[in-house]
Subunit: 407 residues, 2 copies
């Protein structure tokens, strides 16, 4: 919960760690012309059309001040078309830390997260957000590093308490809500899944998607708790556009992004839980690349804070047992298909990012760059089919002098 | 050929346009602690292991001063392994503007480019570069915006004059050279291709690869001149590792990057020709994403300068006819599989980027992140095969209240 730095140039090193976001650090320390050019290079903005900030109702800003969460709001540009009206959707992303120590009673922990989220969801609702997405496994600490099975108690069925909590807001604000939870599948032997539930703007459950790619890296061998999803790559047709969810580690898999695009997604949400040393330099790259390559919007969400656990655990890195596995660096942001992106939310604080996007931009970019038409998918259907065979032979052209030389 | 700015903070706007590279702009205007943190976020460096600059022989730096080209040299880190020796390869990239006006005799234009490149290639050779790559269609202006077929006269067979020019350097310096040219395929009806030729370190021609994906965007409808390549996704096994070439627009296609990876590439070169307004914000994203997703090194090269043509042409954007189609912004750089990258070469000047990379890092990242093992290619072979059929049905889950509401 460090305060953003105020832009003094010669501050001591310690305060660098307290900067709020890359965007603010640069804005505070470069002159306006420099900042404009750096923004053009880093966020694709100011190329004629700037990303505009949008005004929010006072009730929303008041909530952000009272509860200390970062609140930012932007609008992407799109061309006006002659035959289609603009299809502007207001998207909201929430990033947050947990609310109670992980030693508290599980019921209390969950309830405290509900309480903490209420004002942020209210701010989204009163700002007119159409589609809201929470972070991965938002209703619990991200305890999978511990390898202790007791945390499975947090899991809920698709129509469990967390869903019910959100359904009321969906109905109240006519808002689609994506709720990524730890799921308990009662009808299939009570197995566990990492699942995103899509709640319609009337409070109804439209459907669910289960995380396709499960990490086995660092402290994140999540297959201790749940396996690869069995729901394919569904696109959910909602009142506010066609949306899909690429959960966390799936963002490293270009084919996962691709499949949601082939199924017609216009916005793909990437609810995540990832820590600084592991992934922070990848974070601003992968969402943007997916938006560019697939001509859709990408909404990237990461949780915030450092979570400590009661029982120390080792991390397979030769270091002594410890009680946390790093800083969740927040930095949620949204990427557009034209290679522009919003600034990121804070690295340290809870936050709500609101962004207007005209979904017409997706097809405009398809028409401009023609990635889909120039994709030659037949080549790749073929190589993937061949690669899957145990006797796959890679296409390698060896220098004939290579072995001559060494003989 | 503007000079790099010298870091004064309050300069007028005009000089912003003359900054040499994003890296230098930030380094000159942030304090060292801020710059270190910004570098960590933007280039994945300083996470414990910094990217080191490496010393070059005086002959190379003297050439860069005499001929005014940007010369930068770095070394990526990799872990020491117990059972494999490091496999450090020194890679060189050259970016350059053309040498004579496009109105000069074609033979003179080509010869002048040869002369201009000589000292840069000599600097690479005398620095001990093992694998050198030139920019796309390096032996000519990038005239494809004009739609005039006279520029086809620049095309050469695989064993033509440009290849012969480079073969002598390959032999002299024991250096693999990748030469992207406009190819004339004599044996198949004299058709034209956009081709990269791989010249072995003994001066032999190892093979060729033809550009897989052809843009039809802005001034770049290159299918006016050449069609989609027919050489698959070859990986060339050279004396200095397994390399592949993803030519220009192919960088927007994640499947193209993927296929080179499936065939075993350790370094993928992306020789390009692309201009500011079209693609500059994408440029630092796509190469890095490919390196991360495929656990290999990516070397991104873009030409430099603004090329004007004798006959004005229109660009399909409603604007009057004009004689150039924008600024090739250079900015060549190299990305590593661990999400780090080098600073970019100048946006305005010719340049040579030299980088040491231990190819062992590729497998180290495969072991760490396990992207290959968690890829579930069977899902994607299946969806691509289905997508190719005219009656493909996307996987869409519609909100049942959607149509009820509107009725």
């Amino acid at each position: 919960m460090e305060k953003p730095q105020n832009g003094e140039k010669e501050e001591p090193k310690a305060s660098i760690c307290g900067y709020d976001s890359l965007h603010r650090l640069l804005k505070d320390n470069l002159n306006p012309h420099q900042f404009q050019e750096v923004s053009r290079l880093l966020t694709g903005l100011n190329c004629g059309k700037a990303l505009e900030t949008i005004a929010l109702p006072e009730s929303a800003t008041a909530l952000s001040v009272e509860h200390g969460f970062d609140l930012q709001a932007f609008s992407f540009c799109a061309d006006k078309e002659l035959l289609r009206e603009p299809r502007v959707v207001k998207v909201g992303l929430i990033q947050n830390s947990i609310a109670l120590p992980t030693t508290a009673h599980f019921a209390d922990q969950k309830k405290a997260i509900f309480e903490k989220l209420k004002p942020i969801i209210e701010a989204a609702g009163s700002s007119g957000v159409n589609v809201l997405c929470l972070q991965e496994a938002w209703m619990m600490p991200f305890a999978f590093c511990t390898r202790e099975k007791k945390w499975c108690e947090f899991a809920e069925p698709v129509d469990g308490g967390s869903t019910k909590f959100l359904q009321s807001f969906a109905q109240k604000y006519n808002m689609v809500i994506i709720s990524p939870i730890l799921e308990r599948d009662i009808n299939h032997g009570e197995v566990i899944w990492n699942t995103a539930i899509v709640i319609g703007n009337h409070g109804n459950i439209i459907g669910k998607h289960r995380k396709n790619h499960i990490p086995r890296v660092g402290d994140f061998n999540e297959s201790t708790y749940y396996m690869e999803g069995n729901t394919g790559h569904p696109v959910f047709e909602t009142a506010f556009g066609k949306i899909a969810i690429n959960i966390c580690y799936g963002r490293h898999h270009p084919l996962n992004w691709l499949a949601f695009g082939l199924n017609g997604a216009e916005i793909v949400f990437n609810p995540s839980a990832t820590v600084g040393e592991l992934s922070e330099p990848m974070w601003p790259i992968e969402g943007r690349n997916a938006a560019i390559a697939n001509s859709y919007f990408v909404a990237s969400i990461n949780r915030v804070g450092t979570e400590t656990f009661p029982d120390p655990f080792t991390s397979g890195d030769g270091k002594p047992a410890h009680a946390d596995f790093g800083h969740f660096y927040g930095s949620s942001y949204i990427s557009a298909p034209d290679a522009s992106c919003t600034p990121s939310l804070s690295r340290n604080r809870d936050g709500l990012l609101i962004t207007d996007m005209d979904l017409n931009l997706c097809r405009q970019l398809k028409d401009k760059w023609a990635f889909r038409m120039t994709s030659r998918y037949e080549l790749y259907a073929d190589i993937l089919a061949r690669y899957l065979k145990p006797d796959f032979e890679p296409q390698v052209i060896s220098d004939p002098l290579l072995h001559k030389k060494s003989s």
